[in-house]
Each structure stands twice: as structure tokens, then as C-alpha cells.
């Protein structure tokens, strides 16, 4: 086994191990406060009413089949809902970016501690933008899953940005130049 193959396997093991560990912590400690932060900021920035499932009366939640951790888009003051995003479906990007940066070989601890908070701030901004774009598309009566901008922001704010930032770090600090 070549040294680089060994490094790839170590990277894969560390990344998956970290993901599992962080996901447990996240789901118990951070998920709901993070959802609240997303909803508070997007609600103040958007013309729509953005509500967390948990904030509905329990009777309404049961009657309408709402989920506690989903983010619903409505128009004030009525209870009519135009669409929703599953909270955890956005959150996984945060876990991904932490574990990818933390598991990348040949990256010193100082750099990890510098890049992880920076990446998290950018991810948060991307996720706020995702909800705002989603709310705008929902309220305009379009089908959100067919909208290019919604797909772009959801992909960027979950899977793509972590992969991109990891690619840049990998190119700069780890993977030797290909040519």
C-alpha cells in the first residue's frame, strides 16, 4: 500500500468517524438552537413569515401533520403554508465541512482552527440565503424543486461548498500538483 493510499484510507476513516460523533452531538445539543437561529434571522430578513414547526400549537401541528424541526414558509397573518424545508436536510452541510477540514491530512491544527470557523460562517450565510430564496420562490407560486436557484443554493449550502473548500485546501496543502 502506497503512503498516499494509506493517507486516503485514514482520511476516509477519520471523516466518517467524526461525522458520526458530531451528528450525535449535533442532534442532541445544537440542531434546535441552530434551527431557531436560522428561522430568527430569515424571518427578520424576509417578507414572508418563516416559522419553525416546533412553534406551532401542538393541536395545529398534529392536524396539519407538521414536523417540529422543519422550517415552514407562510404569509402573515394567515396560517396558510406555502412550503417547507426539512431543518436537518440543511444542517448536514455544517457537519460535512467540519469533518472534511478536520480529517484532511497535512493540515496543521492552527489552520484547521482557522478554516473551520470561517467555513461555518460562510455555510451559515449560504443556508440563510437558501431559506430566503426558497421563501421567495414558494410565495411566487412556483414549484421550488424545479427552480434552478433553489437547487443551486440548497446544493451549495449543503454538499457543494464543503466539497469545494475541501478541494481548495487539498490542492494547497495536501495533494501534490497533478501536472
Amino acid at each position: 500500500m502506497s503512503p498516499r493510499t494509506r493517507l486516503i484510507l485514514i482520511f476516509a476513516g477519520k471523516a466518517v468517524g467524526l461525522l458520526i460523533a458530531i451528528s450525535v452531538l449535533w442532534s442532541f445539543l445544537i440542531a434546535m438552537p441552530y434551527n431557531r437561529a436560522l428561522v430568527a434571522i430569515t424571518d427578520s430578513l424576509s417578507g414572508a413569515e418563516i416559522i419553525l414547526g416546533e412553534d406551532f400549537e401542538e393541536a395545529d401541528r398534529v392536524r396539519l401533520g407538521l414536523k417540529e424541526d422543519s422550517i415552514y414558509i407562510g404569509l402573515p397573518p394567515g396560517p396558510e403554508l406555502y412550503g417547507y424545508l426539512e431543518g436537518p436536510a440543511l444542517h448536514y452541510g455544517m457537519l460535512l465541512v467540519i469533518s472534511l477540514i478536520a480529517a484532511t491530512p497535512a493540515l496543521g491544527w492552527r489552520r484547521r482552527f482557522k478554516f473551520i470557523p470561517l467555513a461555518l460562517v460562510i455555510m451559515f450565510a449560504l443556508q440563510v440565503s437558501t431559506i430566503l430564496v426558497f421563501a421567495k420562490v414558494c410565495l411566487s407560486g412556483q414549484f421550488a424543486s424545479e427552480n434552478l436557484f433553489v437547487i443551486l443554493f440548497i446544493t451549495l449550502g449543503t454538499a457543494l461548498f464543503p466539497a469545494l473548500i475541501w478541494g481548495v485546501l487539498c490542492y494547497k496543502y495536501w495533494w501534490p500538483k497533478a501536472v
Binding site: Y92, E146, I151, T158, A159
Partner: protein, 207 residues
């Protein structure tokens, strides 16, 4: 005769371009210098820049196709195929699963396969990364094909495991496994597949 310099010392250029201490470059000169620095950077990292542009273009193309594919027969067919394959594997483990279109149901649990359950995004990431990395057309074709097949197989493992988790554990545990573990794991696997392809196929072949 050339003037001798101390070992390691870089001779400073003299003449019009020299900036002395305390003297500020005019705005235009600063602008030109910045443009030159960007050009130099692009030239030095041209392979990476080209790769980044191909990756970005590929991902954008995927998203455009994705947005046009919703409610098409092609996507519906892929969803149904994923549901049938998941149902078949579940039945191998004795789950008595029945598949109706994209709905998989058993006495324990029911689950619908939607676009996000097909692994299309990790597939797009691995294919775009393979296309962007400097390699031959044959290597790219092999990498893309292997990446798609590997992600599809892993996705089946994911859907089967989620069906069992949904049937035997609480909703919150299912949500954690579904969104917080399996989704990022799929992206990590896409990245690792690309790394293995670049290491084992491209680098070894090049040597």
C-alpha cells in the same frame, strides 16, 4: 562582468519600477501591478483554475438538467428502479417489502423514494471532479462510470439501512441517520472515490 550577490539574496530591480521607502505607488501603477499579480497567479495555477472552471461548469450543467428533469419520465423511471432495487434487497433480508411505484412498504414501515434518495448529487460531484482532474479521456470515462456505479450501490445500502432503522427505531434516530449521517457520508464517499481514482488510476498509469 555580472555583479556578485550574497548567496540567497535576490537583486532588487532598479529603474522606473523601483519603489523607495515612504514613497507610494500611483493608483494606476497599483492597479496594473494587481492585474499582473492575478495574471501570474492564474498562469502558475492554470491547471487548478482550468479544473475549477470545468468542475463549476459541470455542476451548474447538472443543476440545470436537474431542474428540468423534475416530473419527467426519465427521473420517475430512475426513482422506480431505485425503489425496486431497494425492495428486492429488503426481501433478501426477509422484510416482506412490497413496491408500488416509488413507495416501499412492509408490515413494519413504509418509505417513499424521492429525488434526494437517489444519490444524484454525490454522483454529480464525483463525475464533475473526475472530468476536472487532468487525465486522459479513457481514465475519465472509467472514473465516471465506476463513480456512478459505486455511489448507486452505496445508495442502495443507505435506503435499505434507513428502511430498517425506520421500522425499528424512533423518528429522531431515523432523522439523525437519514440527514446527519448518511447524507454527508455519501459526499465523503464521493470525495474518497475520486481520490482513489486519482491515486490508483491516473497517477499509477502516468508513472
Amino acid at each position: 562582468m555580472a555583479k556578485k550577490h550574497k548567496t540567497g539574496a535576490v537583486p532588487r530591480p532598479k529603474g522606473r519600477g523601483t519603489v523607495h521607502k515612504g514613497q507610494r505607488q500611483p493608483l494606476r501603477a497599483q492597479f496594473v501591478a494587481s492585474i499582473e499579480a492575478i495574471k501570474l497567479g492564474l498562469r502558475r495555477h492554470r491547471v487548478a483554475v482550468k479544473g475549477g472552471l470545468i468542475f463549476g461548469g459541470g455542476v451548474l450543467a447538472f443543476m440545470l438538467i436537474h431542474s428540468r428533469m423534475v416530473e419527467t419520465e426519465a427521473l420517475a423511471g430512475f426513482l422506480t428502479f431505485t425503489a425496486r432495487a431497494t425492495g428486492a434487497i429488503l426481501n433478501l433480508f426477509g422484510a416482506s417489502a412490497q413496491v408500488d411505484g416509488t413507495l416501499i412498504s412492509s408490515p413494519d414501515y413504509s418509505m417513499r423514494i424521492v429525488t434526494e434518495c437517489t444519490g444524484l448529487v454525490p454522483m454529480a460531484i464525483v463525475v464533475c471532479a473526475v472530468l476536472a482532474y487532468p487525465s486522459t479521456a479513457k481514465q475519465k470515462a472509467i472514473g465516471a462510470a465506476l463513480g456512478i456505479v459505486a455511489i448507486f450501490v452505496l445508495n442502495l445500502v443507505r435506503t435499505v439501512s434507513l428502511f430498517f432503522i425506520g421500522g425499528h427505531f424512533s423518528t429522531s434516530f431515523f432523522n439523525t441517520a437519514h440527514f446527519l449521517i448518511w447524507q454527508p457520508v455519501m459526499i465523503v464517499v464521493a470525495i474518497v472515490l475520486w481520490l482513489f481514482w486519482a491515486e490508483k488510476l491516473v497517477r499509477v498509469t502516468a508513472h
